[in-house]
């Protein structure tokens, strides 16, 4: 296995949803790379396609009504979209894990934590191997033995995610836990199978600030302990600044800017990223000085032509409505999809690469 190759590479992914109102072009050419050890924050507002991008990796997008019309999703060099369902099951069980926003709906209320965790751990160990049909089976652990071992693993995992008295608490039902504790249980389940990739979809959005701080700290610790690669989906830029080393900003079905966390926060290039950062009330803002982004998010049923941000963009050029801008390198670890930085874009883009950052520097 090549350790330097990216763990996940999404190339020009295009996803349509067939709805009664027409075809919603939800993803329009998403490019995203996760190197091993990355904690990548995928940021964007409601409906920008961040969850769909993430779900394309374990191939969990409901198709139909969804339809992947183009693109490639590579997980550890293997083409996810070309695999059979059985191969996919195996890959999901052994190498990927997901955590969702609402911990309450993701635990089954009628089973104890023990039953759910043991089942999850056993399923991660995979379908019974062929050995179990041969005389060697006598040497393998019996199902009862397997469950006992899985239970031990579960208790150990609960302890590591900070559940007090795990031997006792494992017999509880989900409703006996608070929101933060349920999220810890789900995190324990997710990392119990020792996955390579952890996809966390708004894992702290439903939690209080002080609990969020606890979960984020736990998260950081687990990332190091288990050598995880994480795709963290969130709309909270504060969470990204605290947790991630890289950021990808999505707008209306595309990654518009990506880079390491410092360059994105300190030196945002795309007008949307700049607007997003300026829309957050921080300690520098005085009353009435906050700048929102005018307008609202476009509908994927009738998106604007060209760069989908151009109707809301304060720097829109004549070329912007014509064709979506290409991804342009802005530095060693920073890329942006915006014509402002194209030295010779298609007709109409008059900006020089040297002038453009200065032009935006005034505005920010």
């Amino acid at each position: 296995m090549d350790r330097s190759a990216p763990l996940v590479a999404i190339r020009d992914l295009r996803l349509n949803f067939h709805t009664f109102e027409g075809v919603a072009r939800t993803l329009v050419g998403v490019d995203l790379t996760l190197r091993r050890g990355d904690v990548l924050g995928l940021v964007g507002e409601t409906g920008c396609g961040k969850t769909m991008t993430a779900l394309s990796i374990p191939r969990l997008i409901p198709c139909p009504p969804g339809e992947i019309v183009a693109g490639q999703v590579l997980f550890d060099g293997q083409d996810v979209l070309a695999k059979s369902e059985a191969e996919m099951q195996e890959l999901r069980a052994r190498r990927m894990a997901l955590i969702f926003q609402d911990p309450t709906t993701n635990l089954n209320p009628v089973f104890t934590i023990e039953e759910q965790m043991v089942d999850a751990i056993l399923s991660k160990q995979g379908i019974r191997s062929l050995w179990s049909y041969t005389p060697v089976a006598r040497l393998l652990p019996t199902p009862r033995e397997q469950r006992r071992q899985a239970r031990q693993v579960a208790v150990e995992m609960l302890r590591r995610v900070g559940i007090p008295q795990p031997e006792r608490r494992i017999h509880s039902y989900p409703h006996e836990f608070s929101g933060g504790m349920k999220q810890r249980v789900l995190i324990a389940m997710a990392v119990a199978g020792r996955p390579d990739l952890l996809i966390a979809d708004e894992p702290t959005t439903a939690l209080d600030v002080s609990i969020q701080a606890q979960i984020l700290r736990l998260f950081k610790r687990l990332v190091q302990e288990f050598h995880l690669t994480v795709l963290l989906i969130t709309h909270n830029l504060g969470v990204v600044a605290r947790t991630c080393n890289r950021v990808a900003v999505m707008y209306a079905g595309r990654v518009v800017e990506e880079g390491d966390v410092r360059s994105i926060f300190k030196n945002p290039q795309h007008p949307y990223t700049q607007g997003l950062l300026r829309a957050l009330p921080t300690r520098e803002h005085r009353k009435g000085e906050l700048e929102g982004i005018p307008g609202s998010i476009p509908s994927p049923l009738a998106p604007p032509s060209g760069c989908r941000f151009h109707p809301r963009c304060p720097h829109a050029l004549a070329v912007c409505p014509e064709e979506p801008p290409p991804m342009l390198p802005m530095g060693p670890n920073h890329r942006v999809a915006c014509y402002l930085y194209a030295d010779h874009g298609p007709a109409g883009a008059g900006e020089d690469l040297d002038d453009a950052p200065a032009l935006l520097g005034d505005a920010s």
Binding site: S178, S210, L276, L277, P281, H285, G288, L290
Partner: protein, 336 residues
Amino acid sequence: MSRQPLLEVHRLRKYYPIRGGLFRRTIGQIRAVDDVSFAVYPGEALGLVGESGSGKTTLGKTVLRLQEPTGGRILFQGEDLTGLPADELQRRRAHMQMVFQNPYSSLNPRMKVKEIVAEPLVIHGRSKGRPLFERVRELIRRVGLDEAHLYRYPHEFSGGQRQRIGIARALALEPRLLVLDEPTSALDVSVQAQILNLLVDLQEELGLTYLFISHDLGVIRYICDRVALMYLGRIVELAPVETIFERPLHPYTQALRSAMPEPDPDAQEEEILLEGEVDVVDPGFPGCRFAPRCPAAQIDRCQAEEPPLQEVAPGHWVACHLVESGEEGGGGRGKG
């Protein structure tokens, strides 16, 4: 402040019964709001901050008597609301309106925007016919929507637009006080900024007074002049907004302040991590409600006695045994 407060809340309590056992007898009480006193002055924005279960929403609703208080007094413009009969109360309510958190469930899906905004004016018999329509049109333009929007139904609008409709409805009766219950927490950042700016503009223009309930300290810092922090039904600290952010004294305020993620990768301040979660303490527990989670040194008094809300500096109120009156900065952490 020497001015006459617009709203004065005096030792307000709201308890909910816990029923159980045979015949569903009352077997206990949840003290959602317990002995809370504060004042809101004309033209200011007072922020109410707290985590879920702190009682901030209950307090907001009880202040308008949308929930009947268990005890205490609510003075609005010097007049006690607690004893008023329903018809008298309704007249007063014209001056105090509420904007709700969820713009998806707080608008009637079967009414057109025109009817939604006009409804308070009709109920209070303010106007009808042509003048009513003119007023509705004025309101809808004031909140940044278009006249054409008047004939549509709520489902045709985005979250931010719906919240604008909710604000237009709340403004219809020209209230003096607006209780805003998490008005932007269901919205995206860019839309949140638009709504916050609208609220700031409206406050300046119409001289409104806000009671702004939120769990988002960033939003509170932007909108409010003074902030009250609640923990399990009590105000633990009340101070001007700069004081709360620069020199908080209560250990809970300090912890919450440090738990707030700033959108700046370099702002890695020392994190005061709170153990445990907001948990209702046994009603018989005599001590400070925050004591079980308090990271500051615990002295016996924390377990034995509930600290009263005391003014430690002009305008700065703290309920903590570790903070002595008159002390500036430093905070209760590490003391005692």
